[in-house]
Amino acid sequence: MATRTPKPHSPSVDEAPIGDVDAERRAFLVNTTTAFGVAGAACVALPFIQSMNPNRAVQALATLDVHLGDIAEGTNKTVLWQGKPVFIWHRSPAQVQQARAQDSKATMDPQPDADRTQKPDWLVVLGICTHLGCVPMRGGAEDGWRCPCHGSQYDMSGRVIQGPAGKNLEVPPYRFLDDQTIRIG
């Protein structure tokens, strides 16, 4: 049985002669077909990409009501909203004063404490370090929080005072439904 040796492909011999083909017209057709093909592929990719975004069940967990009555003055509570910890701190008047006194030191992402709260004694911030998302713990140079992961620090208003984080702890959207309840989200 003989083994065939494949012939090398030679464009000049193997391809049909161009002859009277209108090269410009052919190029136009090839280009438009390619353009439509690419656009079509992009359209098909879209549902697949979108399928990876939060699904309806995840989106449905958008709000959380928190009862404030059981958070004594001076203490903290951490709740889980959309899978993210939220710090709710019932600050005493002295702590509020301290936090406001720190306004001038928070130079990395300046924002007065008064703009970060709806009622001065309630500080509500996401318990997510704005560096890479760890949960900070109480402590740090200004008696606020420090992050165990890469050493960022926040003051008593949740403002960043030491990197690598560059932004203050985020204030989530929330409103007071009444004096004793907030709705986060």
Binding site: P54, V58, L80, Q82, G83, K84, P85, L132, H150, G163
Partner: protein, 404 residues
């Protein structure tokens, strides 16, 4: 038995030979394999550093095999994942062995590939005409890191969860769209069930993608053949020996040596390279006091933490790996092997030591002295690459031999 030997093929042999030719004519796969593993002409002066490529291949196959058997018992659901690991360790017959092999195997895979890369760096294997071969290697390295990272998330312990959170958040520095990219990757507003399930899917499939890139890697290798410790181009046929039996036997011997520490770890120290916090189930409310990635990410992790500004830290960390792609053009010295480059040889060893120092910083908390050392080491890491073009200009290399 007669003393007369008959060399004419028996009918059976004839049939086998004909079947071989028949298949060859339709799909020349057997000769392809033989070209790659039997007759492949390899330089005759390769040292043991050249064992690590085939070891890496074996390590990859072992990860895939053990992984498939783990997948038969693992559950990629936040409510079941942690317990399904315990189920594998306690209930599944030999499950502990398969899991230990997979866990220790991942660490050893990285050891092998790090040595493999250090070999290429020392002998200048990344230089022309092997730039693409090297680049494919860096792609494999990136894919390996992605695979290992997602695999570590699957047990859904504290380290899994917080490792996943920190690493995925790296993407939040992408300008404008970063926030959306992260939510898209999570499939939620934090790392959660959708994240775990998709990471499982990726972790399963990526090793097969790696196989594909390894095939390209070997294709590129075979085109210009292996570099060698002397680093010169080999022109004479007698500089080469066939892969089989010379290197098949050498690689098999190397494998035997490799399996000694490997099995020791599997049986006696399976947790040595892991972290005890990963035996605490994931808790989105508390980050462990000291989180560290797996040891093979530590040098890069140290670079991330060394820089006090988020965006720059992330860029430096990715940059420290991506710079490897440009190595063939940064180092323009025509001499490959460090044996003939006295200065390069020195900064090469400094670079390796510095890399270990970075890893040591990464393992320690980002405080006090460690921050300072990490910063110095980060500067040194990049200085190595910055020095290469200068070095190529001014270094007086030793004369190269004409042959090996």
């Amino acid at each position: 038995m007669s003393s007369h030997q008959d060399f004419t093929p028996k009918p059976v042999e004839k049939n086998i030979r004909n079947t071989y030719r028949w298949l060859e004519d339709r799909l020349p796969i057997l000769s392809f394999l033989s070209d790659a593993l039997v007759t492949y002409p390899a330089p005759r002066n390769l040292n043991y550093m050249w064992n690590f490529g085939s070891l890496a291949g074996i390590a990859l196959v072992l990860q895939i095999l053990t992984g498939i058997f783990l997948a038969m018992h693992y559950k990629g659901d936040v409510n079941l994942a942690f317990d399904s690991i315990q189920h594998i360790m306690r209930d599944v017959q030999w499950g502990w062995l398969i899991r230990n092999l997979h866990m220790v195997g991942a660490s050893f895979f990285f050891i092998v590939v790090y040595i493999h890369m250090a070999r290429g760096l020392y002998y200048g294997s990344y230089k022309s005409p092997r730039e693409v071969l090297w680049g494919l290697g860096v792609i494999i390295f990136l894919l390996m890191m992605a695979t290992a990272f997602m695999g570590y998330v699957l047990p859904w312990g504290q380290m899994s969860y917080w490792g996943a959170t920190v690493i995925t958040n790296l993407l939040s520095v992408i300008p404008f769209i970063g926030k959306y990219v992260v939510v898209w990757l999570w499939g939620g507003y934090s790392v959660g069930d959708p994240t775990l399930t998709r990471f499982y899917a990726f972790h399963f499939v990526l090793p097969f993608v790696i196989i594909g890139v390894v095939v390209l890697h070997l294709w590129a290798l075979h085109l210009h053949r292996s570099n060698n410790p002397v680093g010169i181009d080999l022109k004479r046929a007698k500089d080469y020996i066939p892969f089989h039996p010379y290197y098949t036997i050498k690689d098999t011997f190397g494998l035997g040596v490799y399996l000694i520490p490997f099995t020791l770890m599997v049986f006696f120290l399976p947790e040595y390279l892991g972290h005890p916090d990963n035996y605490i189930p994931a808790n989105p409310m508390v980050t462990p006091a000291h989180i560290v990635p797996e040891w093979y990410f530590l040098p890069f992790y140290a670079i991330l933490r060394a820089i006090p500004i988020k965006e720059i830290g992330v860029a430096a960390m990715f940059g420290s790996i991506l710079v490897l792609f440009f190595l063939p053009w940064l180092d323009s010295s025509p001499v490959r092997s460090a044996r003939f480059r006295p200065l390069y040889k020195q900064i090469y060893w400094l670079f390796l030591i510095n890399f270990v120092v970075l890893g040591w910083c990464g393992a320690n908390p980002p405080e006090g002295m460690f921050v300072i050392i990490a910063r110095v080491a980060t500067v040194l890491y990049f200085s190595f690459f910055a020095l290469l073009p200068v070095l190529a200009r001014y270094e007086k290399t030793k004369p190269l031999p004409a042959t090996i």
